[in-house]
């Protein structure tokens, strides 16, 4: 039963909807756009006053880690260009595509925080996205088969809820819960650290971001955590400290005043404005530091309120929800996640390299896949394009060379084709690779999937997965120095692979 609301200027009054999305950051905006494109009736509610989510206030030093290149090998607005623009949301109309290079001032190819926020606001405006702002999710409960989302405006009832509430609540261990210890998001302006000794706990991107911002001001900076620092330029992935924040690392390497320690923190003792930080390295060596400021850069949590009460299981320090390949709670059916929380659906995790689902360039594609999945759960059908068998190989290799979903979500999202009843194959669109590989339903048709993969050592390479008679086999192709997989050698190899599929698989024409 819908409750009356006293905010008639806002859309989506409390009531019953096919689906409800909570949030208004980029994950929620991409999802509501894609749900609408699929014809799904849904409500969107957000506690914020405007679009943008965490980018309305962070990153604290005001520039993104993800780039948007104004000039690339492909024209802005094309699908291929998305590989070079990590920050724009994805629309179907010309005015909703490649918005970020349009709103950036050209001084850097890493957008400033205000530019990122402007890009999201512009997308929401041009796409005509509707969100009920100022509507605070307060609690959740089950009522028969329905999920009831209790908000400051009243109750929303649905069988299908999507929470896109970020992983942005700063977390610190008990040993750092000491009066005066600061945390990411509550720092003073940089000049407030002038000529001070600063101890930063944590050596991931947030710790190095803070150190980079304070380098011009601090007398001394100490970065400490038990594990050695990893750099993205070494891992060749987004695992590790990004190049933009490497300056403190070089300062340490050249003995310029930064100290980087592989040590655990044993105690933090306040002394009326200063602190003693006691550390211990893995070999048992202890060092005590007298400092003016202690800053915890020890990670973030997922603000899931009381979702555990309706069955959502979480894991890890960030308390991320355990999820299926389609980002549904593994333990509470009907509850989905979007935005950065999608990183907890780890997929194949090949070579231990995570997906980019924790960043805009990854989860914007997940959102489109999720929107289709939700639409299909609600009875809407998807009709894929039919390909003749001779078109399949070139299509797969074109996807490997230029498909932005594959480039941004390596070993995670795949282009999937299924055998057509009348010969040839049908393009089933982009799907989670783990879903294709692990799908054991008896009625799943034979098919083929292509993903782009990397091992943290070599250049990326295409991977072809062939499903025949219920079994999936993997074939890795060679990397190419120019990342072009459409040449004759690749065409020949894929054609051979398709021809050699087991009899009865793929298509009568290739037996």
């Amino acid at each position: 039963m819908a409750e009356l609301t006293d905010r008639p200027d806002q859309p989506f009054p409390p009531g019953t909807y096919d689906a409800v999305v909570v949030g208004s950051g980029p994950g929620a905006l991409q999802l509501t756009y894609s749900l609408r494109a699929r014809g799904v009736d849904h409500a969107v509610i957000s506690r914020d006053a405007a679009p943008g989510g965490m980018f309305r206030k962070w990153p604290i030093f005001q520039r993104m880690l993800s780039w948007t290149k104004p000039y690339a090998q492909h024209d802005k607005g094309t699908t291929e260009y998305e590989r070079f623009d990590w920050n724009s949301l994805l629309g179907n109309e010309a005015e909703t595509r490649a918005i970020m290079p349009e709103v950036m001032d050209g001084t850097s190819y890493f957008p400033s925080r205000p530019e990122m926020e402007q890009g999201l606001v512009t997308f929401a405006e041009r796409a005509g996205l509707r969100v009920r702002y100022g509507c605070v999710w307060q609690s959740t409960r089950r009522d028969d088969e329905e999920l009831v989302i209790v908000t400051s405006d009243g109750e929303y009832r649905t069988k299908l809820a999507v929470f896109a509430v970020g992983v942005a609540e700063p977390w610190r261990p008990a040993i750092l819960r000491v009066d005066g210890v600061q945390q990411y998001g509550e720092l003073r302006p940089a000049e407030g650290y002038k000529d001070r000794r600063i101890f930063i706990v944590g050596k991931q991107n947030s710790g190095f971001e803070i150190a980079t911002g304070l380098l011009p001001w601090a007398r001394q900076i100490i970065l400490a955590s038990p594990s050695p620092t990893r750099l993205s330029v070494d891992t060749r992935t987004l695992v590790g400290v990004r190049a933009r924040y490497v300056q403190p690392y070089e300062d340490w390497a050249l003995a310029g005043g930064v100290v980087i320690l592989d040590s655990s923190i044993e105690a933090v003792e306040p002394h009326g404005g200063t602190f003693t930080v006691k550390t211990k390295s893995a070999d048992g060596r202890g060092i005590d530091f007298e400092v003016d400021d202690v800053i915890a850069a020890t990670g973030f949590e997922c603000p899931l309120l009381d979702l555990s009460q309706v069955g959502v299981a979480t894991f890890g320090q960030s308390r991320l929800p355990a999820q299926t390949p389609y980002w549904e709670s593994a333990t509470a059916p009907g509850i989905f996640f979007a935005g950065t929380i999608m990183q907890a659906s780890r997929g194949m995790l090949k070579h231990g390299i995570p997906s980019n689902s924790g960043a805009v360039q990854g989860y914007r594609y997940n959102a489109r896949v999720l929107a289709r999945h939700i639409a299909e759960k609600l009875g809407k059908r998807f009709e894929g394009r039919h390909l003749r068998m001779e078109e399949v190989g070139p299509f797969l290799l074109r996807e490997a060379s230029c498909g932005p979903e594959l480039w941004h979500q390596r070993s995670y999202l795949a282009r999937v084709l299924a055998v057509a009843a009348d010969g040839g194959m049908v393009d089933e669109g982009i799907q989670p690779l783990a879903q294709f590989v692990d799908d054991t339903r008896p009625d799943v048709p034979d098919g083929v999937a292509v993903a782009l993969e990397h091992n943290g050592r070599d250049d990326p390479y295409p991977a072809i997965y062939v499903r025949a008679k219920g079994k999936v086999k993997e074939k890795l192709l060679d990397p190419h120095p120019l990342l072009d997989f459409e040449g004759d050698a690749y065409q020949w190899e894929v054609a051979s692979l398709l021809r050699m599929a087991p009899a009865g698989a793929l298509s009568p024409s290739v037996q």
Binding site: P173, A174, P226, F315, G352, P354, R457
Partner: protein, 140 residues
């Protein structure tokens, strides 16, 4: 309790890590990734490249070869070391039998991890020796 501290406490009870000090365990916890797998979910896939080295924190998993369950893994057990050592695709599926909580080390980091922790390497060798012994008994 902090999750990381909880994991350190769990690892301290596993024979594989019995020789490590608390600071070493704390470092290890932040070197490994933690992951949760759902009941029935494949953790390692037979014949597919790029898996890692896994240590079970909680739950159980089946070793499944060509669709047939051969054995069960429990908390403290580890898997993926053979394909990590040989650089080859796994020869079995590992499938979560119920909610499975693991620590994961990528293949690429396995060698340097063992070199940095020789006592863990020795314990791991003991584990491999037990597997060879058990297989020999089974064959005979």
């Amino acid at each position: 309790m902090d999750v990381q501290q909880e994991v350190v406490d769990i690892l301290a009870g596993f024979s594989l890590f019995a020789d490590l000090s608390t600071p070493e365990l704390e470092s290890l916890v932040t070197t490994f990734e933690e992951a949760m797998f759902n009941e029935g979910e494949r953790v390692v896939r037979q014949g597919m490249t790029g898996s890692g080295f896994y240590v079970i924190l909680d739950g159980t998993a089946a070793i499944r070869v060509d669709g047939v369950d051969r054995s069960t893994l429990r908390p403290g057990d580890f898997f993926g070391e053979i394909s990590a050592l040989l650089g080859e695709a796994p020869v079995a599926d590992i499938v979560a039998q119920r909610a499975l909580r693991c620590l994961i080390l990528p293949i690429g980091a396995f060698e340097s991890f063992l070199e940095a922790h020789p006592k863990v390497m020795y314990r791991l060798l003991q584990g491999e020796a037990r597997k060879v012994r058990n297989t020999t008994r089974w064959l005979s």
